[in-house]
């Protein structure tokens, strides 16, 4: 119950103000189609540079929580999921809105998000210290394999092609080695002057997540966005609350599935929402109603995608392995404040970590309150014209990437990486494994160098890195993550070749 002792920090005026700003801003950004939660958090990081680590993390945590929930607004009212995590919400939510039950769908969506989110954060509170204690047993070789596991898991799961996912991870790992080697003082892969300091993480994150979205908006050309919106007649909040309690089965299925999926590195909210929706339908006596505007569909999907948020931070805080792409960006936010996640994080920075986690607990409640009262308004902002969004994100990316190191080199790297990522995405590559490679590369490199020194003094690198029960378990997990992805790719390919598929075409 150590976390209770750090609740005071959340109620300091500046912390509360940042929590409000992050929650409301996150709801609006989340509701805006085309602005993903990952990009929103990446664009916010430069602002936290001028805040204390605790305040910065409170802002980022609130934005992370509420962008995921805010995505439900446009999913329900516009049938455009604000984030991939809200795809399942749109299936029933928009049908409800079309029937004039938009307010009911929004109430249920935010209430379910709140319940799932609170339980997810409670898991974060109780599981993180346990895992941190366990992680104390890890040596450099184990931590090296864990960092590699982070890249292979996200590379295998976050991409439709496992070769391209792993290749993205490799590109990220290589990019992380550019610059001067800290131990030997040698220059590595410095082809132009702008690379002499290496690739700064925050401008790189902004480039990799924001610039491809700007280019995507440019690629649409001069189009007027014709979006069908629906009227949102008022609905009694108390009735929604009672309905949520009656839908206990869907709520618990969503919360449990979201929490478990959050703990698995790299899987993310999209999978959580879709799996929970599918399972809620399987267990429901009213299966046929799913997809026609059934409230249980909204409850299961939204409780799952927000229950995923807290647990996705468990491997991040204890092992430096983010549970989702947005958590990977949060890792970048921790690193720029000099906080290195790991087994000793609760000993070195208890006030920062516990205040941050507590703020996420309060943030869930604020998200429900603000969400319910500002949802219809947020949907109006979500209809902002594409050219304004594109120009706005471009200018924010320019200022955000410059403000971190006050270097034009960083801005140029941001743009080049962004353009490169846009092209790679068009050919099936994914930004998340590349970012994880970029973030985990220096960590893996440091543990590899430390391990190599220990190995040289002991039985050599083969024995040190490839033997011992924990090393073997981790290597098996690395291989299993790749094999699983290979297997699912093969299944997909054989399904595509099957006569049934051919007939359907």
């Amino acid at each position: 119950m150590e976390f209770l002792g750090y609740f005071g920090g959340v109620f300091e005026p500046i912390a509360l103000m940042l929590l409000f700003a992050g929650t409301v801003g996150g709801l609006i950004l989340g509701a805006t189609p085309g602005l993903s939660p990952t990009m929103a958090v990446a664009l916010l990081i430069p602002f936290t540079f001028h805040l204390s680590p605790t305040q910065g993390l409170i802002l980022l945590g609130a934005a992370y929580t509420s962008t995921v929930a805010g995505g439900a607004v446009s999913a329900i009212l516009l049938k455009i999921p604000g984030a991939p995590a809200n795809i399942a919400t749109a299936l029933d939510g928009n049908e409800m809105a079309k029937r004039g039950e938009g307010a009911r769908a929004l109430h249920l969506s935010f209430l379910a998000s709140g319940v799932g989110g609170v339980i997810g954060v409670l898991l974060l509170i109780f599981l993180t210290p346990v895992l941190a204690q366990w992680a104390l047993k890890f040596g450099p070789s184990h931590l090296f394999w864990i960092a590699i596991l982070g890249v292979t898991v996200i590379g295998s799961l976050d991409s439709k092609s496992f070769v391209k996912g792993l290749l993205s991870g490799c590109i990220g790992l290589w990019l992380s080695t550019i610059g001067t080697d800290d131990i030997m003082g040698a220059d590595r892969f410095i082809f132009v002057d702008a690379l002499s300091g290496g690739i700064t993480i925050i401008p790189a994150l902004i480039g990799l997540f924001a610039i491809p979205q700007v280019l995507d908006m440019f690629a649409k050309g001069r189009v007027s966005a014709v979006i069908d919106t629906v009227d949102v007649p008022r609905y009694k909040f108390l009735d929604s609350f009672k309905e949520l309690i009656r839908s206990f089965r869907a709520l618990s299925i969503g919360t449990v599935i979201g929490s478990i999926i959050g703990l698995i590195p790299g899987v993310g909210g999209q999978i959580a929402g879709l799996v929970a929706y599918d399972q809620a339908r399987n267990f429901s006596p009213q299966k046929d109603k799913f997809g026609t505007g059934h409230s249980e569909g909204v409850i299961a999907a939204e409780s799952a995608n927000n229950a995923m948020v807290g647990p996705s931070l468990v491997p991040l805080l204890t092992l430096s392995i983010p549970g989702s792409p947005t958590a990977a960006v949060l890792l970048g936010g921790l690193l720029i404040h000099g906080i290195f996640p790991g087994s000793d994080i609760f000993d070195k920075h208890p006030e920062v970590v516990w205040t941050f986690i507590n703020s996420m607990l309060l943030g869930q409640i604020l998200m429900v309150i603000f969400g319910i009262y500002t949802a219809a308004w947020a949907a109006r902002i979500a209809k902002a014209p594409i050219p304004i969004l594109a120009a706005g994100v471009l200018v924010l990316a320019l200022f955000g990437s410059y403000s971190v190191g006050q270097s034009m080199g960083d801005v140029q790297i941001m743009l080049v990486l962004g353009i490169g990522m846009y092209i790679l995405e068009k050919f099936g590559f994914s930004a998340a494994p590349l970012v994880l490679g970029l973030i985990l590369g220096p960590i893996a490199g440091d543990y590899f160098n430390n391990g190599s020194m220990i190995a040289a003094a002991q039985d050599g690198p083969w024995v040190y890195f490839f033997t011992g029960p924990l090393n073997i378990v981790l290597i098996v997990m690395v291989v299993a993550s790749i094999a699983y992805s290979f297997w699912t790719n093969m299944l997909r390919a054989s399904f595509a070749k099957s006569p049934l598929e051919g007939a359907s075409k």
């Binding site: 290589w174 040698a186 050919f427």
Partner: protein, 153 residues
């Protein structure tokens, strides 16, 4: 070779070339100790890049639709504005002035509203001014970020 296959082969070949260069540098540059970790990465990198290239050349690369010609045509003006802004204007003209011009230009290029109406031009100018005022307040006044000054601010 189909258009789709060519589209996949070109980036596949480019990635393979980068992977080969990284591998060559990792195994030839000195001191060797500084390149131990890059060597491990480069071996995996080049292996996967070869696999990816073979799949692309053999027409097995199905993921990703490539860049459509119309999309490329649409994004080109915006891309040129971005490149001019970052590689020349931000330093030569000043951060705020160049960002204002870039915002207005991008907004005007992609705005579907008629370009012959004075009312729409005024609307674009007002939105640009308001947005840049917010940016100036945030970065110059609140965060006190010192941006490069060129001919202007």
């Amino acid at each position: 070779m189909t258009n789709s296959r060519i589209q996949h082969v070109i980036p596949g070949a480019l990635i393979l070339a980068i992977a080969l260069l990284v591998t060559y540098l990792s195994f030839t540059e000195e001191p060797a100790e500084a390149f131990l970790f890059p060597r491990i990465i480069s071996v995996a990198f080049v292996g996967l890049a070869i696999w990816n290239f073979i799949r692309a050349a053999g027409g097995m690369a199905k993921v990703g639709r490539g860049v459509a010609l119309q999309d490329a045509k649409n994004l080109l003006p915006g891309l040129i504005v971005m490149l001019i802004l970052v590689f020349w204007a931000a330093k030569a003209l000043g951060f705020y002035v160049s960002a204002t011009i870039a915002f207005f230009t991008v907004y005007s290029i992609y705005d579907p509203a008629p370009h012959s109406s004075a009312k729409d031009w005024i609307k674009r100018a007002v939105i640009t001014a308001v947005f840049m005022a917010v940016i100036y307040s945030l970065f110059a006044l609140l965060l006190k970020v010192q941006t490069p000054r060129g001919m202007f601010i």
